[in-house]
């Protein structure tokens, strides 16, 4: 028996509410069209336009922030896409990430001899997908956002065609990404089967009113959703792709993946589990607890034994994902605020760190071993100092944003009475601190320490750091220290970033 299909009612669309998505997606389309028709434009137009478009998206998010404050959260398209302060803050983090990565990408493209707007266009489209994920009020929309986010990211990872590692990274990222999408989708199908809807508002409503008949199906669906999203946010044991992809992909692209892509993935996790399935938190909290413990410990321990700095930072990003999972596990307003704070602070940190690596990696983007950083202090003292601040912040040293972020997460875990999880998080932070010290020792050691004379000669050659990359590193250091000294501004923003599910009006 099929349902009778009546005339299809078009959903009410609030175009202003879609502002950030429209800005990013249309900006990308305009960029590729204009650059195809006008090939003589100078190369700097690409990054400037990308940063401008991202700034427009961030501006739209700021204006919507005020509107949500005055009118409360609302739906932009039917009941499929919600606008609340949580999605707006995540949107702002993604947009700022694009703004910071674009100038670094310009210097990188010039060094590698790449021209053309496609890498910027793909990054803008990917960011648009992330914004869709942050506001999705329906599991199918969430899946579409995830794919819009991921598919350009696969291409970005493989962009360095001259380097076989980059192609390998792209192919691995693609295969495991598609694999995880299939799991996520199967989870969506099973949740649909047990609750009769894919709409997050409808699911929450259904769970609050009825006892689910096929509980096994719902639990299997939840588990598959957790697996699918766990791949995207790189939680252990679904992290296998991260080290390979981070090592192989072009360095500025890694900065984008570690900031915007990870933030969007966690936004989806919070929206689905903490908000829509809050009534079943007894079912998913133990699973997230276990994931957080394994992620924190595996990420920190494996980071220490690596030889390649990009691989080290990849494992450290897994440990950072563990911290955010601790905030998710709390399943409270405080936990969500701490997770958003952590993601915002970490995005800036990680972009700064990978920007330094993008400058150091040299033509071909392959000099990222720990030995290649030796003597950075004598070649570029200012860059070495900025890198040191960023690494200290990643380790969670006081007076940096990393300390405040870790403090908020542990406070939220203690608040939720997850004491052992808080202890594990602190142990992980201590182990990871050793890793950052190891990188810092390399930066400040002398280039010819024990090595042959040929090495010293090679290291003494000046390191060309593009002005824009230097400015981005300076900006990220300023934000890191600024948030560390005055955390209240970002703290208040994160506290106000409450996710909401609004039924169709």
């Amino acid at each position: 028996m099929m349902a009778q299909i009546g005339p299809v009612a078009a959903p009410a669309v609030d175009w202003a509410g879609l502002g950030p998505v429209l800005a990013l997606a249309l900006g990308a389309v305009v960029a590729i069209m204009v650059r195809t028709l006008a090939r003589r434009l100078p190369d700097w137009v690409d990054w400037a336009w990308t940063a401008l478009v991202a700034a427009a998206a961030a501006g739209a998010a700021v204006s919507l922030w005020g509107r949500v404050g005055a009118e409360g959260p609302f739906n932009a398209v039917g009941d499929q896409f919600g606008v609340d302060r949580f999605s707006l803050l995540v949107t702002a983090v993604i947009a700022v990430s694009v703004m910071l990565v674009a100038p670094v990408l310009h210097g990188f493209c010039q060094r590698e001899g790449w021209s053309g707007p496609e890498i910027y266009v793909l990054m803008l489209l990917s960011a648009a997908g992330g914004v869709v994920m942050a506001g999705a009020n329906d599991l199918v929309v969430l899946f579409l956002g995830l794919e819009i986010l991921s598919i350009p990211a696969y291409v970005l990872a493989a962009r360095n065609l001259a380097r076989i590692q980059s192609l390998e990274a792209g192919l691995k990222y693609f295969v495991l990404g598609a694999f995880s999408s299939a799991f996520l989708l199967y989870g969506i199908a099973l949740v649909y089967g047990s609750t009769g809807t894919t709409n997050l508002v409808g699911i929450r409503d259904y769970l609050s009113r009825w006892v689910v008949l096929s509980d096994a199906m719902l639990l299997a669906g939840l588990a598959l959703l957790l697996v699918g999203l766990g791949f995207k946010v790189a939680a252990v044991p679904f992290h296998a792709w991260v080290p390979d992809v981070y090592q192989g992909a072009p360095t500025p692209v890694v900065a984008f993946m570690a900031s915007a892509v990870k933030t969007a993935g966690f936004a989806a996790v919070i929206r689905v589990f903490v908000v829509a399935f809050d009534l079943r938190s007894g079912d998913w909290q133990p699973a997230v607890y276990a994931l957080a413990v394994v992620t924190l410990l595996t990420g920190a321990v494996l980071a220490v034994v690596q030889r390649d700095v990009k691989r080290m930072l990849a494992y450290s990003s897994i440990a950072h994902a563990g911290f955010v999972l601790v905030g998710v596990q709390a399943a409270s307003g405080r936990g969500t605020a701490a997770a958003v704070f952590y993601l915002a602070a970490y995005s800036v940190l990680v972009i700064g760190s990978f920007s330094v690596l993008a400058a150091v990696s040299g033509p071909g983007d392959s000099r990222t071993g720990l030995d290649d950083l030796r003597g950075l202090n004598s070649r570029r003292p200012a860059l070495a100092l900025g890198f040191t601040v960023l690494l200290l912040a990643q380790a969670g040293v006081p007076l940096t944003s990393g300390f405040v972020a870790k403090f908020e997460i542990i406070a939220a875990a203690v608040d939720a009475r997850s004491f052992w999880l808080a202890v594990v998080a602190m142990v992980s932070a201590v182990v990871a601190a050793f890793l950052y010290l190891r990188i810092m020792v390399a930066v400040y050691s002398s280039p010819d320490g024990g090595d042959g004379a040929g090495d010293a000669e090679e290291s003494a050659e000046p390191l060309a750091v593009p002005v824009l990359t230097g400015l981005v590193v300076a900006a990220t250091v300023a934000v890191t220290v600024g948030v560390g000294v005055l955390p209240s501004v970002l703290h208040d923003l994160a506290r106000d970033a409450i996710p909401a599910l609004v039924a169709a009006g």
């Binding site: 349902a3 794919e147 076989i164 590692q165 598609a178 649909y192 080290p243």
Partner: protein, 101 residues
Amino acid sequence: MEPTTGWYLALAAALFVIGAVGLLVRRNPLVMFMCVELMLNAVNVTFVALGADLNDVGGQAAVFFVLVVAAVEVVVGLALVVAVNRRRASATADDLSALRG
């Protein structure tokens, strides 16, 4: 005997597991793509069966989105295989081992 929804769901689960195991076992990227397609189509069967069971069009509507996404994924995936093949004569997953910790 009229097949019930449960049979369709069991078929879909079997297809999904075959796809997942195939992706983990096989080493040729093209076969791996086929396994991903098998997994996605298993989900499609699940959606349609559950949609018919619930007497709701939402399940069938979801299938269209899945089909589009599957097509897009294949486009990108095949492009990646071509790009790898230009550098290497054969493209099996075992040949791609430049990235090691």
